[in-house]
């Protein structure tokens, strides 16, 4: 089954010389881990926000599990989609626990269930619950905040996860660890992941398929091996070159 399907989606913002999304069509199978790669301003975040209806496309259709989303209640839709925003967006007046428990509380889960789930999520992202659950976001490092953002998005076990540069503020070593953990969370869950990054190694390591974007267009959408062997155009092959020029450092940024 197709978890996500975009059909000829266009999005233009005022005062832009190019479209943020330019006739974007793509299909993502359920259970895939798709990474979205591209330089700053190419439309990665815009693409993500189309899927949970934070943006409405100017043109085109978006379907999740074969259902056109523009007809669905956005609030209900979003509760089935985990979302880690690029700016982290933890609520500063709530503790780690309250942040992670936000949606479960709204859904009126049983208190002990919330407690258990929050603990589980904190372990999952590698933070000791006892030490961190009562802290406020300001009392965490940038990387720890990003982990809480991830935990908050995962707690309701969403069918689709949208991750917008979730590891941007994490150092190389911990990033490596979290990448591995995320990969194993994904493979256990059979859910569909969309993961934005501008780190080509991260994109190739995590993605079962990779979307390469530039100026609102999808240049190539394929498996990492296929992209490496048959880059669609000069932009893509230049991109691969940057990775091969600096082997082993593991953190190339576009």
């Amino acid at each position: 089954m197709k978890a996500v399907e975009l059909v000829h989606v266009d999005q233009k913002f005022p005062n832009m010389s190019y479209k943020a999304l330019d006739d974007v069509s793509l299909k993502i199978e359920q259970g895939e881990f798709v990474t979205i790669l591209g330089s700053s301003g190419c439309g990665k975040t815009t693409l993500i926000k189309m899927i949970n209806r934070l943006y409405q496309p100017d043109k085109g259709e978006i379907r999740l599990f074969d259902e056109e989303i523009s007809k669905k209640d956005p609030v209900q839709l979003r509760r089935k989609i985990g979302y880690v925003i690029q700016q982290i967006g933890l609520f500063p007046h709530m503790t780690v626990y309250e942040n992670i428990a936000t949606i479960p509380r709204i859904l009126k889960w049983d208190k002990t269930k919330i407690e258990e789930k929050v603990q589980e999520m904190l372990h999952l992202v590698g933070l000791e619950p006892k030490e961190y659950r009562n802290r406020y976001p300001a009392q965490l490092s940038g990387g720890q905040q990003q982990r809480i953002g991830l935990a908050r998005a995962l707690i309701c076990d969403p069918d689709i996860m949208l991750l917008d540069e979730p590891f941007g503020a994490i150092d190389a070593i911990n990033r490596e660890k979290l990448q591995n953990e995320l990969k194993s969370i994904h493979s256990k869950s059979k859910k569909t992941y969309l993961f934005v990054t501008h780190d080509i190694r991260e994109a190739f390591k995590l993605g079962t398929r990779v979307i390469v974007m530039n100026r609102g267009k999808i240049l190539q959408y394929d498996t990492p091996e296929e992209i490496r062997q048959n880059p669609a155009d000069g932009f893509v092959s230049d991109l691969i070159q940057t990775m091969e020029d600096a082997p082993g450092t593991g953190n190339e940024e576009l």
Binding site: L54, Y83, I85, I88, F91, H93, T102, A138, G142
Partner: protein, 213 residues
Amino acid sequence: MIRYLTEHYELLGNAFAEHLWLVLVTLVLSLLVSALLSLVLIRSEKASNLVIQLFGVIYSIPSLALFAILIPVTGLGDKTAILVLCAYNQYLLLRNILTGMRNVDRNLLEAGTGMGMSSWQLLRTVQIPLAMPSILAGIRLSIISTTGITTIAAAIKAGGLGTVLFSGMRTMNVYKILWGTILCVVIALIADLGLKQIENRVEKKLGGMRTEA
């Protein structure tokens, strides 16, 4: 001076109580009105600016003039006074409530919306708590302003410390004027200090938590 207080204890006490009552009723009513208005206006920035501007204009009308305008409509007495005082307060309260809620980091709203909070849930659990310092500052200002303007309301027979002041002026009684003034300042100061305390506590609770990326 002190003797005047002990001799006219009842007069001053009654005026003080009346004054406090007017300030309190005004505060409660104007908070209700501004809360309702804010809930409606938060949806549109244009409309909020317009309404705030409108109340700004009203706020700039001298109170005596506004009382005079309303006397033919609502008559003399505390009803008219409270109406005018509430109208004045709307400017202070709406401005603080709405800017407080507007200034909440857009990314937080996007994060909340994105994970499936309704706009009401977002308002209740994110926007209003984070706007609290600004809302409390608005309440503090409005109490101070009401305390002052209420003295003028004595001119339309609304009672309160203004009665003492006006009669003091008429009879050239310095003690009356002084005591009337002191008691006004007491109300304003207590409200100011008390609310500052609460503001500080709320601020501390939110303390340093706004440095978040």
